[in-house]
């Protein structure tokens, strides 16, 4: 089951890692994405740290690390096909992060997220 952050990320637990992408709502707000810069694999990040640069035709913004941990993998295909995220937000992952221990209980479920975005 997916969980959601206030920064419009979706989180999916996979063993001791979390797979992170952005929501369809986020891509609608961004518009057509034309540039994505991903973090380096192996990087240690803090919760809330800006680790992805995402630019649309309109503006630049960031994606933050949802939890503290180590980046274990990134979607290498994404920088060459940034528009994929507009076509299928939930099917387009950005990075995998391994925290000290996975605990997604503090994040929103789909109903709570949908209520937040109205």
């Amino acid at each position: 089951m997916l969980k959601y952050t206030e920064d419009h990320e979706w989180l999916k637990q996979d063993g001791d890692e979390i797979i992170v992408g952005i929501t369809a709502y986020a891509t609608e707000q961004l518009g057509d994405v034309v540039f994505i810069e991903l973090p380096e694999v192996g990087r240690e990040v803090e919760a809330g740290e800006e680790i992805v640069v995402i630019e649309s035709v309109k503006a630049a913004s960031d994606i933050v690390a949802p939890v503290a941990g180590t980046i274990t993998a990134v979607n290498e295909a994404l920088p060459d096909t940034p528009g994929a995220v507009n076509e299928d937000a939930l099917g387009t992952w950005f990075f995998r992060i391994k925290p000290a221990s996975v605990d997604l209980d503090g994040f929103m479920d789909e109903a709570a997220y949908n209520e937040m975005i109205g």
Partner: protein, 370 residues
């Protein structure tokens, strides 16, 4: 904050799913569901309809009105033939640019189109001509539409026969359903197309009639900006302002020989001494095209450096973003004139210097009907 103004097409924008944003005191569509990228490419492939009713429309009348306007605008207005239009600048006393505008000779009067953000200031400025017997009439009650793209001629001539005979920068009046339309063959996209001043009472009907053609899609301000950037066209307040001279803005071409040093009607406009001296000597800095080597867009305000590290900034991006038809990031910056096309300079983005190549403007070749 003052309430935002709405054009006659406001409800039409909403009905088409337009995402409305504040712009120069107006509530305008930045994009429709097609999205900025799609709208941009649609305009280049077929035809796009833009609501530009927020722009200022002004009529000047009076004796020797062309000579009078030349006292504020360093263009050849006296030599502008009836039924023709031309680009010009309002300059200030220190040689900067107050606004840019289009000037049309309609026989017994001049018709001007100025930027929305500058309209009040421009009208106050134009009223200086009243002492010369010129009347300044801001036009209320008319909307302004732009139909741009390779299919614009076919679509518009289907509704208004005769427009197909117009050439780039021609202006003419046409009747449509009892309304008189003021049409020019011009635009702000680098495409062939038309700008149509229409009485507000017929504006929605005309827009709906144009959108009724399957070649035409409504286009928002987002794509208007990327289209003009690819066409290398400057935007007031970004690529030029009161501190930018015509030469620095690469707009010296709008000042013809007759208005330059030694010309038949030399000077006689605000800031002429500084502006003409700079044009004669050659500008030290001028607006140039830039193509970043990677995919990262470099946007307004990003600093440009000569080398990959150290040194002082040599300029700043004045307009930049992604060029959908170019297929990559593009930008313009005011940079030292001695830099040659093809040279590499560096944009500092998020603490990193990225190589960018000086490129001739425009990025996208225009397709005007001359």
């Amino acid at each position: 904050m003052a309430e935002l103004r709405r054009t006659k097409l406001f409800d039409l924008h909403l009905s088409r799913g337009g995402k409305m944003v504040p712009f120069a005191g107006w509530e305008m569509p930045v994009q429709y569901p097609m999205g900025v990228l799609g709208e941009h490419l649609h305009t280049r492939a077929k035809a796009g309809l833009f609501d530009v009713s927020h722009m200022g429309q002004v009529i000047l009348r009076g004796p020797n009105v062309a000579e009078a306007l030349e006292s504020l605008v360093p263009a050849d207005i006296v030599g502008l033939g009836q039924g023709r239009q031309r680009y010009g600048l309002f300059t200030n006393g220190t040689g900067g640019i107050l606004d840019d505008l289009m000037i049309a000779n309609k026989g017994d009067h001049l018709f001007l189109v100025v930027n929305a953000a500058c309209v009040d200031q421009d009208i106050a400025h134009l009223r200086k001509l009243e002492s010369l017997g010129i009347s300044v009439e801001p036009i209320a009650g008319r909307a302004l539409l732009a139909l741009q793209g390779p299919e614009a001629e076919g679509v518009l001539s289907g509704l208004i026969p005769g427009v197909e005979a117009m050439k780039f920068m021609d202006v003419a009046e046409f009747d449509w359903q009892g309304a008189t339309l003021w049409i020019s063959r011009s635009g702000y996209t680098g495409e062939d197309g038309f700008e149509i001043s229409v009485p507000e009472a017929q504006a929605v009907a005309l827009a709906e009639a144009l959108l009724g053609d399957e070649a035409v899609a409504p286009i928002g301000l987002g794509a208007r900006d990327s289209l003009r950037l690819e066409a290398g066209m400057p935007l007031y307040g970004h690529d030029m302002d009161i501190e930018t001279s015509p030469a620095a803005a690469a707009l010296g071409w709008s000042i013809p020989k007759a208005r330059r040093l030694g010309g038949a009607r030399e000077g006689g406009f605000p800031g002429a001494d500084a502006i003409l001296a700079e044009l004669a000597a050659g500008a030290a800095k001028t607006r140039r095209g830039l193509r970043p080597e990677g995919r990262a867009p470099i946007r307004e305000g990003v600093e440009i450096f000569a080398g990959p590290e150290g040194g002082e900034a040599i300029g700043k991006v004045c307009s930049g973003g992604f060029g959908p038809s170019v297929g990559g990031p593009i930008a313009m910056a005011i940079l030292p004139a001695e830099l040659a096309e093809g040279e590499t300079v560096y944009a500092e983005l998020r603490g990193k210097r990225l190589p960018v190549v000086l490129t001739a403007l425009p990025f996208h070749k225009p397709s005007y009907k001359r």
